[in-house]
C-alpha cells in the first residue's frame, strides 16, 4: 500500500471540504455574494453604458454655445424679419481668444450672410448663407446627415451644401450648379442635407473662405460655435466670455447642463447602492464564517493541538472566506451578463429619459474589477473570524468536552 500523490492533502482541500459540510449555508452565502456582485456589475455597467449613450446624444446636439458680435441677431428667423440687415461682425482673431480657455473643447468660426433673391418664389425672398469651416464644422454638427453627397472638398472650394428645404426650393441635386444671387458666381452643389427640423434646413452652406471672398468680408465672422468640455461648468465659462469686448454669448442648450447634473446625481446614487450591497454582503460573509468558526471551536482546538500554529488556522479560515467570495463573485458575474438584457429593459421602463444607445455596457474589465473587489472584500471580512479562530487555545477543545 502506498499513498498516492493525489491522496495528499492541502490546506485548500481542507478549506473546500469544510465549506461542503454545511452545504445549504455555504450556498446561501455564495448566493448572497453573487447577488451583491450582480448588483455591482449591473449598476456600474449601467452607469458607464448610460453615460456613453448620453454623451453620444449630447455630442449629436452639436455645439452648446455661440459667441456673436454684440447686437447681432443669431437666429436666422430674426435676420429674415429684419430683412437681412443688422448683421454685426467680429474679427477672426476672437477665435484665438476663445480657444485659450481651458473649458473649450473645440470651436468653429462662422459667417452668416442674408441676400434678397428676386427669383425666389413669386416676388423674391431672402436666402441665408452660412460660411463654415470644413475642418471643424462637421465635427461639431455630427447630427447633420447627408441625403446626397458630402462636405466640401477644399476650404476655399467654389461649392455649396444645401439644407433640405433650400434644396427643395431651388430644386437642386448634387452635381447641379448654384448661382449666388446678384453676384454672378457659379458654385457646384456637392451635398444635400437630410431634414433636421432646425434652421439648418433652409440654409445654404459655403466654405467660410469662399463666402468671405464672395461678400467681401475677409477676416470677418458673425459667430463662433463653441463646444465645451463635458466636465466644465457652463456658467463659469459664460462668465468669462462676457469679459471679451464687443461680443455676446448665447447658450444654445441648457438641456445638457440639466442632463449632466442628472447623470452625476445618478452616479452618486449608483455608488451608494453599490456600497450598501457590499456592506450587506460583508455582514453576510462575516456572519457565516464566524458562525462556522464558533461551531468548530473544539475542532480548531484539536488542529492546534495537532501542531497548527495560529497562522495556519488563520490561513485556513481566510481561505474558506475567500473561496466563498470567489464563488459568489463568479456566479454574480454570470448572472449580471446573463440578465443584462432584462435589466436594460426594466431600466428603460423606469427612466424618464433614456438615451437611444445601449444602456448597459459590461466588459471584461468591469467583470474582473468587480470580482476582484468582491474577493478583496472577502479577504477583509475574513480577517476578524480568522483572527478569532487563530487566537483560540487548544484547551478549549478539551474543556468543552462535557456538553
Amino acid at each position: 500500500m502506498k499513498i498516492k500523490n493525489s491522496q495528499k492533502i492541502s490546506l485548500f482541500h481542507i478549506a473546500w471540504k469544510n465549506l461542503a459540510r454545511k452545504k445549504t449555508r455555504s450556498l446561501l452565502t455564495v448566493v448572497g455574494i453573487a447577488l451583491a456582485t450582480w448588483v455591482l456589475i449591473s449598476l456600474f455597467g449601467f452607469n458607464s453604458g448610460y453615460k456613453n449613450s448620453l454623451d453620444r446624444d449630447i455630442d449629436n446636439l452639436g455645439f452648446q454655445m455661440l459667441v456673436v458680435a454684440k447686437g447681432c441677431p443669431y437666429e436666422a428667423a430674426t435676420l429674415m424679419l429684419k430683412g437681412g440687415t443688422g448683421l454685426k461682425y467680429m474679427n477672426e482673431a476672437v477665435v484665438k481668444l476663445i480657444v485659450r480657455e481651458p473649458e473649450v473643447e473645440s470651436v468653429t468660426p462662422m459667417l452668416m450672410q442674408v441676400v434678397f433673391d428676386p427669383n425666389k418664389g413669386q416676388s423674391g425672398g431672402l436666402t441665408a448663407f452660412l460660411g463654415v469651416d470644413p475642418a471643424t464644422f462637421p465635427k461639431l454638427k455630427p447630427g447633420l446627415n447627408f441625403k446626397q453627397g458630402g462636405w466640401f472638398t477644399d476650404p476655399a472650394a467654389l461649392e455649396v451644401v444645401m439644407g433640405f428645404e433650400a434644396a427643395e426650393l431651388e430644386q437642386r441635386e448634387v452635381g447641379d450648379l448654384y448661382l449666388v444671387p446678384e453676384k454672378e458666381i457659379e458654385l457646384k452643389v456637392v451635398g444635400v442635407l437630410e431634414r433636421s427640423g432646425t434652421q439648418d434646413d433652409g440654409t445654404i452652406f459655403l466654405p467660410l473662405k469662399t463666402l468671405q471672398k464672395i461678400f467681401g468680408q475677409e477676416g470677418q465672422l458673425t459667430s463662433v460655435g463653441i463646444k465645451v468640455n463635458k466636465e466644465a461648468s457652463l456658467a463659469d465659462f459664460e462668465e468669462k466670455m462676457f469679459k471679451l469686448p464687443d461680443v455676446q454669448v448665447v447658450s444654445l442648450t441648457q438641456v445638457k447642463t440639466t442632463i449632466m447634473t442628472l447623470v452625476s446625481t445618478a452616479r452618486i446614487l449608483v455608488f451608494s447602492i453599490a456600497l450598501i450591497a457590499i456592506l450587506i454582503s460583508i455582514m453576510g460573509v462575516i456572519n457565516t464564517v464566524l458562525m462556522s468558526v464558533m461551531e468548530r471551536q473544539k475542532e480548531i482546538g484539536i488542529l492546534k493541538a495537532m501542531g497548527a500554529l495560529a497562522g495556519d488556522v488563520f490561513k485556513l479560515v481566510w481561505l474558506e472566506t475567500s473561496l466563498l467570495c470567489l464563488l459568489g463573485g463568479l456566479l454574480g458575474a454570470v448572472l449580471a451578463v446573463g440578465t443584462s438584457r432584462l435589466t436594460e429593459y426594466l431600466i428603460r421602463k423606469l427612466l424618464p429619459f433614456a438615451p437611444s444607445g445601449g444602456l448597459i455596457s459590461i466588459d471584461a474589465g468591469l467583470i474582473l474589477t468587480a470580482i476582484g473587489a468582491v474577493v478583496l472584500v472577502g479577504l477583509l471580512s475574513g480577517v476578524y473570524p480568522a483572527f478569532r479562530a487563530a487566537r483560540m487555545r487548544p484547551l478549549e477543545a478539551i474543556r468543552s468536552e462535557e456538553e
Partner: protein
C-alpha cells in the same frame, strides 16, 4: 529512543482555578516523572484533577506554580512559562492527543483526516510510514471511507492514527473510550498496549474504565489534585 530516560518531569506543580472568589486547587503540589516507554493510567473520582493533570503534562495548559520540563526543556518554572507558539512547537514535536470525541472532519476521507496534520507540520520520514500506521490500526481497508460510514471504534482508531502520524514520543488519551461500548473499549486498550510494547510509544491515559486502566503498566490514582496511590495493576 532510550527506554527509561525521563521525558516529562513535573515538580510540585499546581493548578489553581478561580470559581467566583473561591480558589480551587485542581492540582495541588503534585510531582510525577514520566519515562520513555511508560504506559500510565490516571484514575480517580470525578473532579479529582485527572484531565487537568493531563493537560498540564501535555503542555495544553500552564501550571500556576511548580516546575515542568519536557524532553529536557523547561516549559514552566515558578509561574513563568513559554509562549503559545513555543508551546505549539513542543506539542507538535512531542505529543499526540486523543479525546473522548473524535473530531474528525466529516467531509474528509479516513486517509485525508489522518493526513491533516501534515498541512501544518511534517516530520522527516513520517509520510512514508503512514501505510504501516494505517495497517497497524486496522484501517487499511477503510482509507477512502468517510467518518460517517465508520463505527465508533474505527473512528477512534482514525483519531489515533492522526495523533500518531507525526511520530510523537507521547500519546495523551483523555477518556478515549468514553463514547464506546465495553467490547470496543477493550479493543482500543489492546491497541494502545500494542503500540506501547511494539513501538515503545509513551502513553498517558485518563479513564474511569478499570478494565481499560488495567492495560497500562502503571496506575496512578488521584484524589483532590494529589496522588493518592501509585501501583501496578
Amino acid at each position: 529512543m532510550r527506554a527509561n530516560s525521563v521525558i516529562i518531569e513535573a515538580e510540585n506543580i499546581k493548578k489553581i482555578y478561580l470559581r467566583g472568589t473561591e480558589k480551587i486547587a485542581a492540582i495541588n503540589d503534585l510531582s510525577v516523572t514520566v519515562n520513555r516507554g511508560d504506559f500510565i493510567a490516571f484514575v480517580g473520582p470525578s473532579g479529582s484533577g485527572k484531565t487537568t493533570l493531563l493537560n498540564l503534562l501535555g503542555c495544553l495548559d500552564n501550571p500556576s506554580a511548580g516546575k515542568l520540563a519536557v524532553n529536557g526543556r523547561t516549559v514552566h518554572e515558578s509561574g513563568r512559562g513559554l509562549s503559545e507558539s513555543q508551546l505549539t512547537r513542543i506539542r507538535r514535536e512531542i505529543f499526540g492527543y486523543i479525546f473522548q470525541k473524535f473530531y474528525l472532519i466529516p467531509t474528509l476521507t479516513v486517509l485525508e483526516n489522518v493526513l491533516v496534520p501534515f498541512t501544518f507540520f511534517k516530520k522527516e520520514g513520517a509520510e512514508k510510514d503512514v501505510p504501516r500506521l494505517l495497517k497497524k490500526l486496522g484501517l487499511e481497508n477503510r482509507m477512502n471511507h468517510l467518518p460517517g460510514e465508520l463505527s465508533g471504534g474505527e473512528m477512534q482508531r482514525v483519531a489515533i492514527a492522526r495523533a500518531l502520524v507525526n511520530h510523537p514520543g507521547v500519546l495523551l488519551a483523555d477518556e478515549p473510550t468514553g463514547n464506546l461500548d465495553s467490547e470496543r473499549s477493550l479493543e482500543i486498550g489492546q491497541l494502545l498496549r500494542q503500540l506501547n510494547e511494539e513501538d515503545g510509544l509513551t502513553i498517558l491515559l485518563v479513564t474511569h474504565n478499570t478494565e481499560l486502566a488495567s492495560m497500562a503498566r502503571v496506575t496512578i490514582r488521584l484524589r483532590d489534585g494529589r496522588i493518592a496511590k501509585q501501583g501496578t495493576p
